[in-house]
C-alpha cells in the first residue's frame, strides 16, 4: 500500500477565472492500477465534481478515447499504469478544454 499524490488540472470556464491544479491523495494497493482507476477513485471518494472521459469507455485500449496527459505525455488513461509516487494529470489540449480533463477534439 502506498499513497499516490495526484496533481490534477481543473478548469470550469463558467465558474473559474482561470485554471488551477488540485491535489489528491489516493491509496494504491496494487501494481496493476491504471490512471482511469485512479480518476474513478477520486470521483467516487474525494471529489465528484472532477471531469474526465468515462461515459463511453471500453477500458481495454480499443476505443482510444480516454486520452490524458500524464506527466506531460499523452496516453490512454485505461492503459497507463501508475509508476512512482506523484503524477501530474492534464488535458491533452488546454486550448480546447471543456472542463478539467475533457477537451472537444474533432
Amino acid at each position: 500500500m502506498k499513497d499516490l499524490k495526484v496533481i490534477c488540472y481543473r478548469y470550469d470556464r463558467d465558474k473559474d477565472e482561470k485554471p488551477y491544479y488540485a491535489t489528491y491523495n489516493v491509496p494504491v494497493d496494487d501494481e496493476n492500477v491504471s490512471v482511469m482507476d485512479i480518476l474513478n477513485y477520486i470521483y467516487e471518494n474525494l471529489d465528484p465534481t472532477i471531469s474526465y472521459f468515462s461515459h463511453a469507455a471500453c477500458k481495454q485500449d480499443i476505443c482510444g478515447r480516454c486520452t490524458v496527459k500524464v506527466n506531460g505525455k499523452s496516453v490512454l488513461a485505461c492503459k497507463e499504469s501508475i509508476i512512482g509516487d506523484v503524477i501530474l494529470l492534464e488535458p491533452v489540449n488546454k486550448e480546447k478544454v471543456i472542463k478539467d480533463l475533457i477537451c472537444r477534439l474533432d
Binding site: 470550469d12 470556464r13 463558467d14 465558474k15 496494487d30 501494481e31 496493476n32 492500477v33 491504471s34 482507476d37 470521483y43 467516487e44 465528484p48 465534481t49 472532477i50 471531469s51 468515462s54 461515459h55 463511453a56 469507455a57 471500453c58 477500458k59 481495454q60 485500449d61 480499443i62 476505443c63 482510444g64 478515447r65 485505461c78 492503459k79 499504469s81 471543456i98 472542463k99 478539467d100 475533457i102 472537444r104
Partner: protein, 585 residues
Amino acid sequence: MINNYLYYDVIIMGSGGAGLRAAISSAEKGCKTVIVTKGKINRSGATLLAGANISADIACDGKSLWEMGFNTDKDDSKEKWFKDIITEGFYLNNDELVSRYVEDAPKRVKELIDWGMKVNGLEGDRAISVEGTEILDTLYRNAKSLNVGFIEDNLVSDIVTEGNKFVGIISIDILSGDISFIGAKSLVIASGGMHFVFPFHSGSTDLTGDGQAAALRAGVEMIDMEMVTFCPLIIKHPLKYRGSILPYILQSFGYGEILNKYGKNFLDDVFEKDVLYYAWHSEWNKLLLSYAFSKEILNGNGTPDGGLYYVMSSSPKEIYKEMYSNWPGFKKGVNPEIMSILENGNALVIAPGAHYFEGGIKINDKMETNVQGIFAAGECTGGLFGANRVSSALTEMLVEGAIAGENAAIYAKDINNIKPDKDLIDKYVEPITKPFNVNKGTNVLEMRKYLHDITYANLWVIRDGEKLQTCLSKLDEIKNGIDEIYIKNKSLKYNKEWIEYIELRNVYYCAKAIAKSALLRTESRGVHFRSDYPITNNEEWLKHIIIVDANFNYRFENIRRGISEAEIKKLSYIDFIRYLVNKLT
C-alpha cells in the same frame, strides 16, 4: 430549457453494428437519417469489445458459407440451423425472428465481405471470425458515404410520444450539457445491453439500458427480461483489467484451468462426466460454467473478492508462441499485459459477470414495436434467442439492423414530422434537470453503490423467490431515492454525477423489469436458474413474460413453436440441458 430543435426523417439511437447497419438501410431508401450515439460513432457500444477484439464470430449456416468459398460443411442447411437455435434457446425463441435470422444471415455476411471486411478465418462450423473493430469500420465507411448524420457524445434521456405515436427524442450533449429535442418520423433503438444493471460485467461503460428504459417509459413492451447470460470468466482482479473476457476466450480455445481458493479443481464435483464435457467443450459453456462457478463462490470457496483463480501455470513457452501466431489479437491493446501475468505463472481472479441480454424490447419480424414509428434492433431487443443465446449476437445486430432501418424508412415515407408543443417537452425535461435544484438528499454515487449491492446479492446467476422479492422491494426504495437525488456538481459541462443520475434512472427500470420477470418465472430454463424451482417445466412455462408498461404490469404470451417441439413435460434443470444437447444436429 431546450437548447436546440432538430428534425430528421429517421433517428437511429446507438452506433454499434445494429445502429450502423440500420442507418445504411434507412439512408439507402432516401431518408434523412441521423445516428445519435452516446460515444464515438465507430468506437463505442458492445460491438467494439466482441470476442475481446480477438475473435468475434458472425454466424451463418455451413452451406451458405461453403457457397461463399469457406471450408464448411455443405450438407448443413438453414433448416438444421433453425432447429438448433430453437433447441439452444430451450424452446423459448420467437420462431418468426429465428426465421429472419437464418434467412438473412448469408446476405449480411456476404455484403460485409464485399464491402472489404477482413476475415480472420472460421470459428467452428457455422461462423466466420473477425475483429469487432473491423465490422464497425466497414459499416461506418458505408454509412458515411450515404451521408448519414452523426451526433456523438449524446445521451438519449427520453423518447417523446403523443398518443401511441413516436414524435422525437430528448438528447443531452454530455460535453456541453445542452439539451436537444430531435424530432423525426421514426426511430430505431439500437442501444445495446443493460450491463450497468450489474456491478460486474463485460460491457463498455455506455451500456446502461438507455434504449430499453426510455422505450418502456414510452409504452413499448419488453419481453423475456429475466434472461441474462453471464460470462463465466470475466476478469475481476487486477482492477485495471476488470471486465475483460480474455480468460473466457482462452478457456473456449481450450487453454488454462480454474481453481478455487484452495487451489483445487472443483468442477468434477459439480457435474457428471458428460455434462462436464459440455461445460468445457460446447458452446453451452457460458451457462454451465456460470452456474458451477457461482455455486462454488456461494459455498465460500471463492477468493476474498468473490472470484476464482484462472491459471495457465503448467503451460510451457511453446504453447504461448503457437497461440500468439494463431491469434494476433492476444498481442494487441492491454491483452499482452494480461498474458504476461499468466506467462509468469500468476493467476487472474475471474468470476461470472453480466454479458448478454436475451430479453429486451419486444419486436415482430419487421422489427416494429407496439408503438407506431418505434423500431428496434440488436441486443436491446428480445425474443430471438429465447432462454439462451448460443449463436451469434453479431449476426443478430446485422440482420435486425438491416430490417429495422428499412422498415423505419418505409414508415417515414408516408407521414410528416409532428412538432410537439412546449408543454409536452417540458414534461420530459423537468425530471432530468431536477437534481440541479435539489440541495440535499442521497448522493447519486451512494445510490449507484446501493443498487449494485442489491442486484449482485439478489439478481445474480443463482436466483430464488425470496431474493427476488427483496430485490423488488429495495428497488422501490431506490426509485424514491432517485426522485430526490442529490448531486454536488451543479455545472452543466461534462457533469459525471448528472449523467450517472440519468443512467441510474434507466438502470432502475431495467433492473425492475428483470427482477419482476425473474420472480414470475417459477422454473429454471436456460440462463434463468431458480434454486427454489430447479426444474424446467414445459407444461406451464412455454410462454413469454411481457412487461407492458412503466408500472411493470405484465401479461403472458404462449409460444407456438416451442409447444409443438417439446416432447418432455418436466425435467430437472441439468437433465433437460443433457436432453437438449443430444438433440442438436
